[in-house]
Symmetry: C2
Subunit: 222 residues, 2 copies
């Protein structure tokens, strides 16, 4: 059985879980406590991050970006990276936007600074970074809302990897209670459509010791 090494709060792992489920590719989830730096895991993936996908034939595919490109090439029945050059550019632009810009401006400040430091208790969270994270989240929600008003899905008329990249981050933030959905009604509507997809269901039953998701987290009609 295909194995995905992951962490429940990792937005990059969440993106891959959604994409595998959308492609109807069965997989077994294994939690990898990356901070333990397990030698067998580092031998497989020297960077030591999650997610890593291991195929039945033994092929090891690290990094969520690499995994998503691989899945598109290996299982072309489901096209999540567009069908024309222009579509692919817009989809990959938004994936880079969420996994690069959104990740460093929002996710790192809120989940990295606030939640991970609380869970591990290693150092004091930096209040300035957390404040910046909330301000940036507001702008990003407005941008998502703007995209969702122009188009059926974030990158165009078809559901694409851009939606799953955004949903990976937002679902991790929503799990930790960080998202004020009243900021943008169209962003909320888009996220509600994402949440209703069968691929999303396993994420809504995630549990993490030390984090209580808000009451609306698993609620499809939040």
């Amino acid at each position: 059985m295909r194995v995905l090494y992951h962490l429940p709060l990792s937005p990059f792992s969440r993106k891959v879980r959604l994409v595998l489920a959308e492609r109807r590719l069965p997989f077994e989830l294994k939690v990898e406590r990356v901070w333990e730096r397990r030698p067998e895991y580092l031998a497989m993936h020297a960077a030591g991050t999650v997610p890593v996908l291991v195929e039945d034939n033994g092929l090891v595919i690290p990094d969520s970006g690499v995994i998503c490109e691989y899945l598109e090439e290996a299982y072309p029945d489901t096209a999540l990276l567009g069908r024309t050059l222009g579509e692919s550019v817009e989809i990959r632009r938004l994936v880079a936007w969420f996994d690069g810009k959104f990740a460093s401006e929002v996710t790192r400040n809120l989940i990295g600074e606030k939640i991970m430091k609380r869970l591990f208790g290693r150092s004091q969270p930096d209040v300035g970074l957390i404040r910046a994270g909330y301000a940036n989240l507001r702008s990003h929600l407005e941008y998502i809302g703007w995209l969702a008003e122009q188009r059926r899905w974030l990158a165009g008329n078809e559901l694409s990897l851009a939606d799953f990249a955004a949903a990976g981050h937002l679902s991790a933030l929503d799990f930790t209670g960080e998202v004020d959905w009243s900021i943008s009604a169209p962003a909320r509507d888009w996220y509600s459509r994402m949440k209703s997809r069968p691929s999303f269901r396993p994420l809504l039953t995630d549990r993490v010791a030390g984090v209580d998701p808000p009451a609306h987290y698993p609620d499809l009609d939040f």
Copy 2:
């Protein structure tokens, strides 16, 4: 004429310049001073980073990762992303390694902290970060040397995007005089082969106000 908006010290811009030249795609270079946040540029690419490629047909392609995937699809004569699934995974894994891990552990600490702060004079460079950058550069050079000893090129027997991603970072660092090539003879040999390629020549004549590259920078026999 195709236009590439770039900055001479940006390793991501350098990667794309090398890849365009390897593909024999003519292009005009335009320096984009991203810190000026030019409205016309932001309208084209909201994230405001370099590089951005603009094709003759008007297609705007931002982000070096997006550009390199686009070029592979649009101009398939030159394959820089491998021919089998396994090759592609290894190439993209290393591109993610250099543009993610190497960038944050080395380039950001040395070029970001040391050179950019000196050029802009906005705040004092953080000595701890610079020291970490040198220590990390040593490990990374050893890893590159190890790869270069196992294989003809970094990701396998064929020259690939992995080589250009690594060369983008190392050439920017070498330009600023940060690389001690005595750390790894095989890494030095690999870089010397990269530097001898015709695609590399324009990078060796770059000039940046306020930065004097070391005497060996343009030297093919350094």
